[in-house]
């Protein structure tokens, strides 16, 4: 900034100095030759003035004047040229300065823009990095959750299997089976005479709560009436009794109708 302020002062200074110098040259230059020629006067000869000499002296004076004018003109021309040159120089300098400033400004703008862009890019990159990290973290967490859940599930299943294998569970299961048995038996009207050798398997699908949502016969040696009686019994038995322990619940229950005549 200081450079831009100082620079225009120099050409103006130079210009004033040159003008002063030229003015001095013009004033003293014209008088100087006069002084040098005036002291050459011989008293003897002075009396004897030759016409020719006079004429020559006049011519010489004209010549001197002519030379002086030309010299003055030349000097003015030089001054003018110098001024022009200075003007041009000044303009060039100005243009150069403007150009330089413009370039500087351009560079600055470019730098700034680049910086801005870089900053934005950086910000963007940072953001991307951040969100990527967050996503990664999230994914890791999700994976962990899933893994944990799977492991918990696995553990639960294993525990379930263990529970299922335990004696207490088996006795609960037996009581659940008895509950379903009694529940269905109370609702089954056994058609007369079917006890002899009947073996009829039906797969019943229940939902939690015991509601029967489906049934299909497996192997069954009973006739249409027997099947009808069994289907009716199961529909009436819905909802089936709840298990004494939720883990005992089974979606599919296999009911095997094998009546014993002696049981009546």
């Amino acid at each position: 900034m200081n450079a831009t302020m100082r620079t225009p002062i120099a050409p103006i200074g130079w210009s004033i100095a040159l003008h002063a110098a030229l003015a001095a040259v013009l004033v003293f230059g014209l008088s100087l030759p006069k002084r040098t020629e005036e002291p050459i006067v011989l008293p003897i000869d002075a009396v004897v003035v030759d016409d020719a000499v006079l004429q020559a002296a006049g011519r010489r004076r004209d010549e001197q004047e002519r030379v002086e004018t030309a010299r003055q003109e030349r000097a003015a021309e030089e001054l003018r040229r110098e001024e022009e040159r200075l003007q041009k120089e000044q303009e060039r300098s100005k243009a150069e300065e403007a150009e330089r400033i413009a370039a500087l400004q351009k560079t600055k703008a470019e730098t700034e823009a680049r910086a801005k862009a870089e900053a934005a890019a950086k910000r963007k990159a940072e953001q991307a990095e951040k969100s990527k990290a967050a996503a990664e973290q999230k994914r890791a967490a999700q994976e962990k959750r899933e893994r944990d859940s799977r492991e918990a599930d696995l553990q639960a299943r294993l525990a379930d299997e263990e529970t299922r294998a335990s004696a207490g569970f088996q006795s609960l299961k037996a009581s659940y089976v008895r509950a379903i048995q009694a529940h269905v038996e109370q609702r089954w009207y056994e058609p007369p005479g079917v006890a002899q050798g009947l073996s009829c398997t039906i797969y019943v699908t229940q939902i939690p709560g015991g509601e029967v949502v489906g049934m299909r016969f497996g192997s069954c040696n009973g006739g249409a009436a027997v099947r009808q009686s069994i289907e009716t019994a199961i529909r009436k038995a819905s909802p089936l009794p709840p298990p004494p322990e939720p883990a005992l619940f089974e979606r599919e229950v296999e009911l095997v109708f094998t009546p014993k005549e002696s049981s009546r």
Partner: protein
């Protein structure tokens, strides 16, 4: 990564394992004592009053069978007349398993038409849809046939409502007894006197076609076996040997009669009489009393009562020559009057159970006797043609009634019959 894959495999592998965890429940008996059913009065589509209440007869039949529990008429919240009008949700709320609906309409030829449909409430399925033209005089009988169809569709066993029963009614003071051989509808209604006498009538036995009865009558002064055609009343004497002529039983093909005869030697044994030829074949020859013969369904074996081991017990003997009798009953001191079920699996007997005469059932395959009835003096068991029930006579408080017990012993009920002493009930075969 591998760990995850392994975990996944473990998870995937597990569901296959609990296949054995599925619950298996054995159902060993049906405890429901009867099937709830709604019998909706039939719509009458003719002018004026309906000529007959078909639904009332069906309801009574089903109720009497002991296997159905008809919804009381007052509880019929709606009265659909076709399967399409049956809203199963409503009937499910009434805890009804089946709904019978129908229409009765006059036909141009003077007959009627009964149309009926049976709907299973459980799944809305239309189990029956039948139309039958009916003679005006046969509306009751046709109603019994509706009952038969319903019974068969739901229980898988043909109904026996449209069958008949025969029995002997004894009236009057000791010196002026009157004996009547009566045939009635299976519900005890519509009694018809077949033969009557001042002398004893015994042991009515239906011919396999249901058109004739063989029985013993003393009206000639001595015992003789007669066969009477029901439609005409024509009575034919088929056995009047010297001594006892008793306990006739038609063979399954109707060509022969098994009899208990004492003949000249006074030793009562079992014989088979071929009706067409009067050819007589002696089946047992034992100094003890062998009587009350009964045919196996295949006609190759006779079951009978004998006291050859002291008290009366049931024996069987093949009809091929030289066959030896084999004892059938071993439980209890008294088992008599065998009657074989239509499927040959059971033999109904009179057994002494804790001092009372009751109807028992012997399993022909596994042995063992089950007491079916619970009276003090229950006698003369006779299987229904579908084998589901046993008809017998029962003395309750000095009064005789006809009673029916299901062949599994679960249901007992009495049926209306003439007052007086009732003996020797016999259930007819199917009457087609």
């Amino acid at each position: 990564m591998f760990r995850r894959i392994l975990a996944t495999i473990a998870i995937l592998a597990l569901p296959a394992a609990p296949a054995g965890a599925q619950l298996t429940v054995q159902i060993l008996r049906g405890m429901a004592d009867s099937v709830p059913i709604a019998v909706v009065p039939l719509a009458w589509e003719g002018p004026g009053q309906a000529p007959y209440d078909v639904a009332a007869t069906v309801r009574a039949d089903l109720e009497r069978s002991g296997r159905f529990r008809p919804l009381p008429q007052a509880q019929l919240v709606e009265q659909p007349h076709s399967a399409g009008e049956v809203d199963t949700a409503d009937w499910r709320m009434l805890k009804v398993d089946y709904v019978l609906v129908g229409r009765l309409s006059p036909l141009p030829d003077g007959r009627f038409e009964i149309r009926f449909e049976l709907v299973a409430v459980a799944n809305g399925e239309r189990l029956l849809g039948t139309a039958m033209p009916v003679d005006p005089k046969a509306l009751k009988r046709a109603s019994h046939r509706v009952s038969d169809a319903v019974y068969e569709k739901i229980l898988g066993v043909r109904g026996a409502f449209a069958t008949r029963i025969a029995y002997v009614a004894v009236d009057g003071p000791i010196d002026k007894r009157s004996y009547r051989l009566i045939v009635a509808d299976a519900d005890g209604a519509n009694e018809n006197r077949v033969f009557d006498s001042r002398d004893p009538i015994m042991s009515p036995s239906w011919s396999p076609d249901g058109r004739s009865l063989a029985y013993v009558s003393f009206h000639s002064g001595l015992s003789a076996v007669y066969v009477q055609t029901l439609a005409t009343g024509a009575q034919v004497q088929v056995s009047a040997k010297s001594g006892i002529n008793g306990a006739p039983a038609f063979s399954p093909d109707g060509s022969r009669l098994a009899l208990a005869l004492s003949r000249r030697d006074g030793n009562v044994d079992v014989y088979v009489l071929t009706l067409a030829t009067q050819d007589l074949q002696r089946i047992t020859e034992d100094p003890a009393i062998d009587t009350e013969p009964c045919w196996s369904p295949d006609g190759r074996t006779l079951f009978f009562t004998s006291d050859r081991a002291g008290g009366p017990q049931v024996y069987s003997v093949g009809l091929e020559s030289g066959a030896r009798a084999r004892r059938v009953t071993f439980e209890g001191s008294y088992n008599a009057r065998p009657r074989v079920s239509p499927d040959g699996r059971q033999i109904a007997v009179v057994t002494v159970d804790r001092g009372a005469y009751r109807i028992g059932s012997v399993d022909t395959q596994r042995g063992g006797l089950q007491v079916l009835s619970g009276g003090q003096l229950d006698e003369s068991p006779s299987f229904a043609p579908n084998g589901a029930d046993v008809l017998y006579t029962s003395r309750v408080g000095g009064r005789d009634t006809l009673a029916i017990v299901s062949s599994d012993g679960r249901v007992q009920r009495q049926i209306a019959a003439s007052a007086g002493e009732l003996r020797e009930a016999a259930w007819s075969p199917y009457l087609d």
